[in-house]
């Protein structure tokens, strides 16, 4: 008997993939949206404490991270164009740059968090609960939750980009089947735009 393949699974619909990705992005926006709501409520209730605590954050590292994330969004957008122009090496290069920048972001984050830990500022620490006010505890709690969850999304984005690069290299993602690369771009832009809101809320409003 001849081998039968299950045809629907070879079905390719770029429009459907993109709608699917946008819907997923809605869910991510709601996930972070709720955290932003909590932030606003507690900021309203603990106005002065949030000012005090925000002054502790390192604006320079935050600014550097903002800048490099913006650049990475540009490079991933360029990689989509490169793929459409059928320039595979350039696509891989631009994706590679995006990936490296993502890693650099995480390294910066690591040192930033590490410095806070050295000062004894982490959830549940003695310094936090004994010397700081409730508003400041909430600020740092939210800071670690929101930047931590964002960092987790960076990691997921990096895995996504790595998979797409592998598929581009294998020739499974190409100019006619570019939806996966475009979706990884959409996801990366989402991660980027969430940071665009996190940065002023935590670092700049002091």
């Amino acid at each position: 008997m001849e081998k039968v393949t299950h045809a629907p699974h070879d079905h390719y619909d770029a429009e459907a993939s993109k709608i699917g990705m946008w819907l997923f992005i809605f869910t991510e926006l709601l996930l972070f949206g709720i955290l932003f709501v909590i932030y606003s409520v507690y900021r309203y209730l603990n106005h002065d404490a949030f000012h005090l605590a925000a002054a502790e954050l390192d604006t320079f590292t935050g600014a550097v991270n903002t800048l490099i994330l913006l650049v990475s969004s540009m490079t991933i957008a360029m990689s989509v164009t490169a793929l459409q122009k059928k320039n595979k090496p350039l696509t891989l290069l631009l994706n590679g740059i995006t990936f490296v920048i993502g890693v650099v972001f995480l390294v910066n984050k690591y040192f930033e968090w590490g410095a806070k830990f050295d000062h004894g500022i982490f959830p549940g620490s003695a310094t936090l609960t004994e010397t700081l006010s409730q508003g400041e505890i909430l600020f740092f709690g939210l800071y670690f939750i929101m930047t931590g969850l964002h960092a987790l999304h960076i990691i997921i984005g990096l895995v996504f980009i790595a998979v797409v690069m592998w598929k581009v290299a294998k020739g499974k993602v190409h100019a006619e089947r570019s939806a996966l690369l475009e979706n990884s771009g959409l996801y990366w832009h989402l991660v980027d735009i969430i940071w665009i809101f996190l940065f002023p809320l935590f670092y700049l409003i002091v």
Partner: protein
């Protein structure tokens, strides 16, 4: 009908793909097999939930300790709630009948993302095992109630973390199913099948999918925050660190009230399919049902505060939440009106699914109207956290979604398994179950009005009579449930072969053989200008 398509030679139950036996099912991306995987896993979890419910009723047979003490009773209602809500009624009709029927009803071969669909089921199973792990291992069974209210949920010494992560993963499964259905309905309708020609079950799945997508992330992040609170003490919900437990209740109900509509909308969709078929008449007010479905989906987001009238909220907020709660009752009432009008002057064919559908309307009306008592501010204060509330939401969730589920399984059973069940036993099962249901929950309205609080293993002597009646009802209900299950399981194996269209339905699933072939259609159907799902 002998199929010309190579894959379609076999029906989906007999088809041999890459794997055989069990693996042929749990690794199958066929939407019909996934629907059945959900059916079987949910049937198991539902049975566990029923047993826990029976244990609770047995405990309440007499005042004082009957079979368990307070701590065990708390654990029992927690686990009963978590299982019934997160594993049975929330996935409920979309996961079983939505998966099975949605592609066929829109003339497609499968959903938009078949692998993602299988992944959803795997997430479901992972969530189930995580929650079960919380019961079997660790320092004690969760005892917070299914709502996981802060601050108790991060203070209690019981094994909360696996239960919370389990609920989170079940939510993820729900999101992926919703996403899949939305894309499927948008992209995969067959030629000529305009939005105005979709069958109503598909429309309700569409409304439900939006709620699944937009409400579930809220509870997802809320559960993560509770877990972080437990692990690290971040302070968001901990009053000792400046947080606010009431905020938890808001965030929880922002999801969990819309979740009620995730449960009930597809149930209404199934009823909207069954009533026209057994009345052999066009559904009355097709557009009104669609508009009211979408209205429920939208307004349902804005009423969560009515769960918290006694929790501490400004008077202004209470007025708005109460008003919106009354508003959300209107679209449901419109649907009831439409179903009744559909029957008017129809040629009614009284069969088991029709019995279930009509009794659905009956219990749903009682549940809905008692909901208005709870939505009114003054009455709410009086019956808040009493047995009245328990009776109300069981009339809606069990009487609504549960009855619709049984209606749906009796309606689509011949299509799914290609065999017909024993109709006499099915009718007996229905009448016993319904009598049991009414005997079990009706006394709880009275008990609640008299002031019996919920969530206690003990009660005052004056409540004894009502509780005996209620416990007695739980045994009748269990008997009915056993009759139904035995009849269906036996018939799935040995029932008579069913025809392609035993009920003379007009929707697309009745145009394919029973059981459907692997790819549903040999040729993708085309809907002519004058065709429609209810043109009798």
């Amino acid at each position: 009908m002998q199929s010309t398509n190579a894959v379609n030679q076999a029906n989906y139950l007999e088809y041999r793909g890459r794997f055989k036996g069990l693996f042929g099912w749990i690794f199958s991306t066929d939407h019909k097999r996934i629907g059945l995987l959900y059916l079987y896993s949910m049937a198991v979890m539902f049975s566990v939930g029923v047993l826990l419910g029976l244990a609770m009723k047995l405990e309440l047979l007499a005042p004082g300790k009957t079979i368990m003490d307070a701590q065990d009773y708390n654990a029992t209602f927690t686990v009963h709630g978590v299982i019934m809500i997160f594993m049975v009624v929330v996935p409920g009709l979309p996961a079983v009948f939505g998966n099975f029927l949605l592609p066929i009803m829109i003339g497609a071969k499968d959903v938009a993302f078949p692998k993602l669909n299988l992944l959803s089921w795997w997430f479901y199973v992972a969530g189930v095992f995580l929650v079960l792990a919380a019961l079997l291992f660790g320092p004690g069974t969760p005892d917070t109630g299914w709502t996981f209210y802060a601050p108790y949920s991060f203070k209690t010494g019981t094994n909360m973390l696996p239960a919370i992560f389990g609920a989170f993963i079940l939510g993820f499964s729900s999101i992926l199913t919703g996403l899949n259905f939305l894309v499927t309905i948008h992209r995969m309708r067959c030629p000529g099948l305009k939005w105005s020609k979709l069958s109503l079950f598909v429309w309700t799945l569409y409304g439900t999918a939006w709620i699944q997508l937009l409400a579930t992330p809220v509870v997802g992040i809320t559960l993560v925050l509770v877990a972080l609170e437990r692990l690290f003490g971040v302070g968001i919900f901990d009053p000792a660190l400046g947080g606010d437990p009431i905020l938890y209740q808001h965030l929880f109900w922002i999801y969990s009230h819309p979740a009620v509509y995730i449960m009930i909308l597809p149930a209404m969709g199934a009823i909207s399919e069954i009533i026209p078929t057994f009345s052999q008449k066009h559904i009355f007010g097709y557009k009104a049902i669609i508009v009211s479905t979408m209205a429920i989906a939208f307004v349902g987001y804005l009423v969560w505060g009515h769960h918290m009238f006694t929790a501490g909220m400004s008077g202004t907020a209470q007025y708005y939440f109460s008003l919106l709660t009354f508003l959300v009752a209107i679209p449901s009432a419109i649907k009831v009106f439409n179903w009744i009008s559909t029957m008017y002057k129809g040629s009614i064919n009284v069969q088991t699914p029709f019995y279930w559908a009509v009794s659905f309307i009956f219990v749903f009306m009682i549940g809905g109207l008692s909901g208005l008592v709870l939505g009114a501010l003054a009455a709410n204060i009086y019956v808040h956290d009493t047995a009245f509330v328990v009776a109300h939401f069981h009339y809606i969730v069990f009487g609504g979604t549960g009855f619709a589920f049984f209606a749906a399984i009796h309606y689509w059973f011949p299509k799914i398994f290609g065999r017909m069940y024993d109709k006499a036993w099915a009718n007996i099962g229905w009448i016993v179950f319904t009598i049991g249901f009414l005997t079990l929950y009706s006394p709880m309205f009275y008990l609640g009005m008299m002031g019996m609080p919920r969530r206690y293993y003990d009660y005052l002597e004056e409540f004894h009579g009502g509780n005996i009646l209620s416990t007695f009802g739980s045994w009748i209900l269990a008997t009915g449930f056993i009759i139904i299950i035995v009849n269906l399981v036996r018939s799935a194996r040995r029932g008579e072969k069913a025809e392609m269209n035993p009920w003379k339905g007009k929707t697309l699933e009745w145009t394919v053989p029973s059981p459907p072939p692997v790819e549903n259609f040999d040729k993708i159907p085309e809907i002519a200008e004058n065709d429609g799902p209810y043109n009798y």
